[in-house]
């Protein structure tokens, strides 16, 4: 049986949140300052929290008795539906902050719009996540400004991060037939409607950062259908190893 559009929609959101939250948690004990160590953990905790709410809802939609951890730990990378952006490795601090900026600049208006969904659960999750992502946008935005308009080295690193990650932006705004039906039913967010907010926020921040968004010759896509970069597999292998080694165990 193919999953319903609502299940696919919810899992995509959940996987985005989990994969990005996991990536941020990889910074543990490696942050540039003690203060930033704490800030990065807060970002990771927000995202893991969002993922848990969304998996919980996915389980209800599916109605087959699966639980949040079954989705997180027992699916292979081909079954993960997150966008390519969030699975990209942390790289240096500039790459992590640019990735966070792209995602937050999309997710903040996205969740704000989702708060108006006709689906009550998604609306409630949207209302909570919107506030969290607004802070992520501020945090990442301020760092990108500092790095872009900081030293020669930080500028070069921020620029390199933009070059590497810009090709993953368009996938955030993709819509397939299932999404289209949900948009028409007033359940899903029409990404075309939030793109102006994304472009505006990003434009202002990059301006202040003395950076510019590079031109994209070819946008990369596929994550939403389970066609990932090589980076997701090893990440999931590490994340799932213990859970899979003890089938059925409680933790």
């Amino acid at each position: 049986m193919t999953p319903t559009p609502l299940l696919t929609y919810t899992l995509r959101l959940a996987d985005n949140a989990l994969v990005l939250g996991h990536r941020l948690s990889e910074w543990t004990a490696h942050a540039p300052t003690l203060e930033e160590e704490i800030a990065l953990a807060n970002l990771a905790l927000d995202l893991v929290g969002q993922a848990r709410m969304l998996y919980d809802y996915a389980a209800k939609i599916e109605g087959k008795g699966r639980r949040e951890d079954d989705f997180a730990f027992l699916r292979d990378d081909r079954a993960f539906l997150n966008v390519l952006l969030v699975e990209q490795p942390n790289g240096d601090f500039a790459a992590t902050m640019v990735r966070q900026l792209f995602f937050a600049a999309y997710a903040q208006p996205f969740y704000a719009a989702l708060a108006g969904s006709k689906d009550e659960t998604l609306a409630a999750i949207g209302a909570k996540a919107e506030k969290e992502m607004a802070y992520h946008l501020r945090h990442a935005g301020e760092w990108v400004i500092r790095l872009g308009d900081g030293t020669e080295e930080s500028h070069a690193r921020a620029k390199a991060a933009l070059d590497d990650l810009v090709i993953y932006i368009d996938e955030l705004f993709e819509v397939d037939a299932g999404d289209r039906a949900l948009i028409e039913a007033g359940i899903a967010v029409d990404p075309a409607k939030i793109r102006p907010a994304f472009d505006k926020a990003l434009g202002e921040i990059l301006d202040e950062a003395t950076l510019a968004l590079p031109k994209v010759s070819h946008a990369h896509r596929g994550g939403r259908e389970g066609l990932h970069s090589e980076h997701l597999g090893p990440m999931l292998a590490e994340m799932q190893v213990l859970h899979r080694a003890h089938p059925g165990a409680e933790w």
Binding site: E35, E36, I38, A39, N42, E142, R146
Partner: protein, 95 residues
């Protein structure tokens, strides 16, 4: 050789509406905006506040502990400033 230090900031948090800001600790940040964000991340992880002040530590003027006696002892003898100094008959009721 130590690298250049980020300035030290003092953090004050209003725990809930209606209460004053209270000193909760310090942190290092490059500028005021960063200090405000970091104060939020460091000092309100358990919903400890609704408002934050930060100020660079070097901008605070402090009294010298050596002056403690001169500054604060003279008021100790002014007991007539306190309501308990005055005996009011019980029949008058609460005042």
């Amino acid at each position: 050789m130590s690298e250049a230090a980020m300035p030290l900031y003092e953090v004050f948090i209003r725990p809930k509406a209606g209460l004053s800001h209270k000193h909760v600790g310090s942190l290092h940040a490059a500028d005021d905006d960063m200090a405000l964000n970091m104060a939020r991340d460091v000092y309100t992880r358990r919903a400890e506040g609704v408002s934050i002040w930060v100020v660079q530590s070097k901008l605070i003027a402090a009294s010298d502990p050596v002056d403690k006696d001169m500054l604060f002892e003279p008021t100790a003898s002014k007991v007539y400033r306190h309501p308990t100094f005055y005996d009011i008959p019980e029949e008058v009721g609460h005042m």
